[in-house]
Symmetry: C2
Subunit: 292 residues, 2 copies
């Protein structure tokens, strides 16, 4: 059985074909412009490929509540062309196959839990630090949904005493995304994150914000493991800095075996930046199992 | 069928008998001293009462993971006499009935979801602001467990610009509990919270911290409803202040129908401070159903 996988992002749509074991057979990328232009190209790619189901990991906010009237629609987004667009419906109408949907970051979380470094764990969070900051979570073995899905890239933080940057989140200024995303780093220092590799204070400040957020997620979600992915996390020197700062902030408060083994508690994504698309394969598989 | 309910707190053990519909038939309070003194009194109370099961809502941290070796034990707590004490085991040995266990705040959350203001919702959080600050949560219809249970009373916050208090959490200083618990209010202002009723700045600062925490919980847990209980929340003037501050902080970011109806989104506990003990009745019922 071949599954279709669609990572629907704000700048591009990654379309792939894959097998149940996570193998990616082929992959193409289509620019995200307007639904009118982009969706027909996506549909054209999958048509005739004999996929058994399609899994979509979408940018948000998106309605992932299956019992809602607007299930599968993009919600109130600054990408105005996509606002309230019926993403799942418009594809299902053309392809007539089961479609699974979640957020891109819940998808990545699922990818790591199914094929990657967190197999067998019931409670995991996945955080991407890239153009934006997104958080996916699985709690009691189920991807976290509720009123909506996590939007925890926007939690509020204390400012680093040496940081004079005012943040670049249009909604909250100094939220996590406003302080720690790739574009925030670039705006604060006037250079791309990748060019700042050897500048220690950049990563001290970056680790300070990420660690504060992790501390709050740990206390709120009680994950058994935390996975950090996205472009900025390719700076591997961040990991020891973040771990140390989380320990400093917790200050002995949580004494679990997981926390005591910090090097295996806060870890990098393990699937070569394919965790998202592999998660979509698994979303497709689950969607097919559900209709069987 | 009569159920036993035990709210195990740091200063007192509330023992009660109740019916499946949440009716409390009788209730006594036993001071919490040492396990050696306190547990026999608790056992003595329930013995011979012909209860079908017992539900315990305990102070934390406590091991609520049923597949763990130390399930039912108190974990690393500053109350040294109780550190690593086998709470469930020591009672079960004497009473030989099914015992359900969760944290006191998860218990309160369950109480409100079963008998109170949040019936039928799958995703609810309950926060108590009292001697400490505790958070219980139900996600996808199940009480939140993972590595541990939520300890979200200790999340980190930005300081109010007019606040010179350094916080009184021995672990984190200015975490939510350190800034907003009853004792924090008393230490900051030199008077008990209840005596400060007419002092506006007290409640402005209090609402500022609570709202910041709620903003982070909303973005992380995506609850469909937020219930605020505990002694401090008897100051009902806090509710409009908190709602307004949450709206200011979110700044239009989440546009759900729940958020648009703020007066029904952030609400007081509804069970006359019996949400905890009524939740224990439900924990007992669930424990009995599980062995059936
Ligand atoms: N190796 C790297 N080191 C530091 N930052 C990087 C690196 N690669 C990409 N970035 C930053 O990450 C952001 C892009 O994130 P990425 O996860 O690749 O994509 P997106 O979030 O758009 O899906 C950009 O701001 C970029 O500057
Ligand atoms: N009506 C009230 N107004 C303001 N604060 C109160 C009120 N009643 C109790 N408190 C404060 O709440 C704290 C006790 O919280 P409570 O929820 O009653 O118990 P606990 O948290 O110990 O279970 C104390 O610090 C007390 O000062
Ligand atoms: Zn933001
Ligand atoms: Zn604290």
């Amino acid at each position: 059985m071949i599954f279709g996988a669609l990572e629907a992002g704000g700048t591009k749509m990654v379309c792939a074909l894959g097998r149940e074991d996570g193998t990616i057979l082929e992959q193409v990328s289509i620019p995200t412009t307007t639904p009118k232009e982009t969706i027909p190209l996506v549909v054209k790619y999958f048509r005739g490929k004999e996929i058994g189901a399609l899994g979509i990991g979408s940018f948000g906010p998106v309605d992932v509540n299956q019992s809602s009237d607007t299930y599968g629609h993009i919600l109130d987004t600054p990408k105005t062309a996509w606002k309230y667009f019926d993403l799942v419906g418009s594809i299902q109408k053309e392809l007539s196959i089961p479609i699974g949907l979640d957020t891109d970051v819940n998808g990545s979380c699922l990818g790591e839990m199914t094929f990657g470094n967190s197999k067998g764990l019931d409670s995991v969070i996945y955080i991407t630090i890239g153009t934006g900051v997104g958080v996916g979570a699985s709690i009691n073995g189920k991807l976290l949904h509720g009123m909506l899905h996590p939007e925890a890239g926007h939690i509020l933080l204390k400012k680093h005493p040496k940081d004079t940057f005012d943040g670049n989140c249009p909604y909250h200024g100094t939220c996590l995304e406003g302080m720690a995303s790739g574009p925030a780093i670039e705006k604060r220092w006037g250079k791309k994150a990748v060019e700042l590799k050897d500048n220690d204070i950049v990563w001290e400040i970056e680790a300070y914000y990420i660690a504060q957020a992790l501390m709050n997620y740990i206390l709120t979600l009680a994950p058994r493991r935390i996975i950090l992915g996205g472009g900025v996390m390719h700076q591997m020197q961040l990991f020891p800095l973040i771990r140390k700062e989380v320990e400093r902030l917790l200050n002995g408060y949580l004494n679990t075996k997981e926390i005591k083994d910090m090097d295996h508690y806060i870890i990098p994504a393990s699937l070569n930046d394919n965790q998202g698309i592999m998660g979509c394969i698994q979303l497709a598989k689950i969607a097919l199992d559900e209709v069987k």
